[in-house]
């Protein structure tokens, strides 16, 4: 056999072998990619079981709101006449000889 022919046959065999390997690798890669994408697609489309705590906040509107103003001192008493308001802003000590009219104590 002509050496040139033999060389040509050898080159062709090596080329065929490389082509087969490349084809095989491509097919395997394609299959792996397909499987991967399939899993990803399946994971994204199938429902998950998620436990969610639902907190129901029931806003109950009270028909009546308690009066807003806090406890007030006598200085803040709106219903008292101004003339007596200042002089009675605080209780005064009673003059010694005066008899009290009533006792304020626990009951």
């Amino acid at each position: 056999v002509d050496p040139d022919v033999r060389q040509a046959q050898l080159v062709r065999s090596v080329g065929i072998l490389r082509t087969r390997r490349a084809t095989f690798a491509t097919v395997v890669a394609a299959l792996l990619m397909t499987a991967l994408l399939t899993v990803a697609a399946a994971a994204s489309t199938h429902s998950k079981r998620v436990v969610t705590h639902v907190v129901r906040v029931k806003r109950r509107l009270a028909p009546v709101t308690a009066p807003a103003p806090p406890l007030v001192s006598l200085e803040g008493a709106a219903s008292t006449p101004p003339s007596t308001q200042q002089s009675a802003a605080a209780p005064a000590p009673a003059p010694a000889p005066v008899t009290p009219v009533v006792v304020s104590g626990g009951s």
């Binding site: 308690a66 007030v72 001192s73 008493a77 605080a90 009219v101 304020s104 104590g105 626990g106 009951s107």
Partner: protein
């Protein structure tokens, strides 16, 4: 000429003092009528009262009259002003502690075995009061007790009514919780301060002069009874649902109304050592007596009255 009359009502002593003696009979009649109305509407111990009916149907809206509606509103105001410390939701806690009937009957019964009650600082927010519809819904599992505010509210109402109808200066005292209305006598209303409102007028102690508003005193050394856990008293702490443990034995407050004064005294007892700052921050004049008898003041309460 100042004149006064006293009688028993609402489980305590009711006193009316007027600046014109001729108005005394009418004033006494007005006071008795007013207190009877309060008793019918607000008593926890009368099975036929509006409050008992509302308590019996807890969880359902019940139609009520305007007086109970106003008294409940005042009680909610007290709870709001004290962050739930002075609350109307202590009926069950009081009953578990032994105060489940009129106090005379509590004393007559003797020793009581304390039952456990649950704290109820926030339960008052579940009360549904509709003033327009005239309905009240007591929260399920709660029993309302208006004892912390209803007497003071009755004193304010009665004093204003008497002064309005008779035109004379009026002082009404219900168990030592005092409301004044109308023009006071020239020297003002002289009030003796004591641990117990039933002490004689000439007993030793400080006296002060008031001319308007209200003056109330609350104490843990009165209205006490015996239980298997020792002595109990009627001032319940909603945080524990048990009789309050407090450094103060008696607190007196002068404020714009008897309701405000009474709520402040109860709130101060329950706040403990924070009470003077709380009272002072609201411009309230107060006298606080520690358990050992030493006295502390808040606001403009006259320390000089102590020597009188």
């Amino acid at each position: 000429v100042i004149a006064s009359a006293s009688f028993r009502s609402l489980g305590t002593t009711a006193t009316v003092v007027v600046s014109d003696a001729e108005a005394l009979d009418e004033s006494r009649q007005i006071l008795a009528t007013e207190l009877a109305r309060f008793d019918e509407a607000c008593s926890r111990f009368r099975p036929d009262s509006e409050l008992s009916r509302a308590n019996a149907q807890a969880g359902h809206a019940v139609r009520i009259g305007p007086l109970l509606a106003r008294a409940t509103e005042v009680a909610m105001y007290a709870a709001d002003a004290t962050h739930g410390l002075v609350t109307p939701t202590l009926g069950t806690a009081l009953a578990c502690a032994g105060y489940d009937r009129t106090f005379d009957l509590v004393l007559a019964r003797g020793r009581w075995t304390v039952r456990t009650a649950h704290p109820s600082v926030c339960a008052w927010r579940e009360i549904q009061l509709d003033l327009e519809q005239g309905t009240l819904r007591v929260p399920r599992g709660v029993e309302l007790d208006l004892g912390a505010t209803a007497k003071a509210f009755a004193a304010d109402c009665a004093a204003a009514t008497i002064a309005g109808r008779t035109g004379c200066g009026t002082l009404v005292s219900l168990g030592g919780d005092i409301a004044v209305a109308g023009s006071p006598p020239p020297s003002g209303w002289v009030v003796r301060i004591a641990d117990d409102h039933e002490v004689p007028l000439d007993s030793p102690g400080p006296s002060v002069v008031i001319r308007l508003g209200g003056l109330a005193t609350s104490s843990t050394i009165v209205r006490r009874w015996t239980t298997d856990r020792g002595e109990a008293h009627h001032i319940i702490d909603p945080r524990t649902a048990r009789p309050a443990t407090t450094p103060w034995r008696t607190v007196s407050v002068h404020a714009a109304s008897c309701v405000d004064a009474n709520v402040a005294t109860l709130g101060a007892l329950l706040m403990g050592s924070d009470a003077p700052a709380w009272l002072g921050g609201r411009g309230l004049h107060a006298r606080l007596v520690r358990k050992d008898g030493t006295v502390r003041y808040a606001g403009g309460w006259p320390a000089g009255a102590e020597a009188a």
